[in-house]
């Protein structure tokens, strides 16, 4: 049970590190942990890869939606 708890906390730290929410002091400790903990390093590398994939999930709304928004804005300005 104790092992699981330690592992969970470390993975949460790695996630904060992944999203640049750690302090410089924490960064040093995490980098050091990654050097010695193979499982944690594997989790970090997989998370980096998944995060890069998430960056590519970009959707574009149809042009008509944008045109509707811009038209609404112009109409709203005239009516106001």
């Amino acid at each position: 049970m104790r092992m699981t708890q330690i592992s969970t906390l470390n993975q949460n730290d790695v996630i904060r590190y992944l999203y640049n929410e750690t302090t410089p002091q924490e960064n040093d400790r995490i980098v050091e942990a990654l050097l010695f903990d193979v499982e944690l390093l594997e989790f970090y590398l997989e998370s980096v890869e998944t995060k890069e994939g998430l960056d590519q999930v970009i959707m574009t709304p149809p042009r008509k939606v944008i045109n509707n928004i811009l038209a609404y804005s112009k109409k709203y300005a005239i009516e106001a």
Partner: protein, 201 residues
Amino acid sequence: MEKVQVNDSELVSAYIKGNEDAFGTLVEKYKHRIYTTIYLVVKTEEVAQDLMQDTFIKAIKTLRGGRYNEEGKFLPWILRIAHNLAIDYFRRERRYPNVVFEDGSHVFNSLNFSEESVETLQIKRESHEQLRSLIKCLPEQQREVLVMRHYEDMSFQEIADATGVSINTALGRMRYALINLRKMMSKNKYAYDTNLYTKSK
């Protein structure tokens, strides 16, 4: 010729004063981000399109009505509007489990993560499309945190405050979201070619 950089705060001020081009610039600048955020919550393109328009209608009324007071923070502000509308819709619709997918088919969706839902996922040709589909299979709480952190750029503390949980719970949900995405990728024999995700220089 030197390009003049105009920040969001200046664009917002110009729009409030009546400059429609400034508004057009903001819409073009953030349309992908806002639309992706809405879509990943509501999971259908048709609804995402409606809510995208509703988001901007709300923003237009607030800006032109002189009620905007978050100068310099346009994106987080409008993402919050989008997120709230999407979550409201999602929670309303949750009572009716029939979900219309992009191809128009109606499938029963228990909105729970299960082996069956993964196995019945249609394999998309493009890797990012497949990942998009996998995000939709995540349990609601995990998907919510993932969208808020990754696409809305909220900190884990902000997410914890907004969802009424501790920061450790928010982090835990994110951790499971990442782990589950990874598992689903493996189960789908997802050819996760990292070269596809190398940003163009």
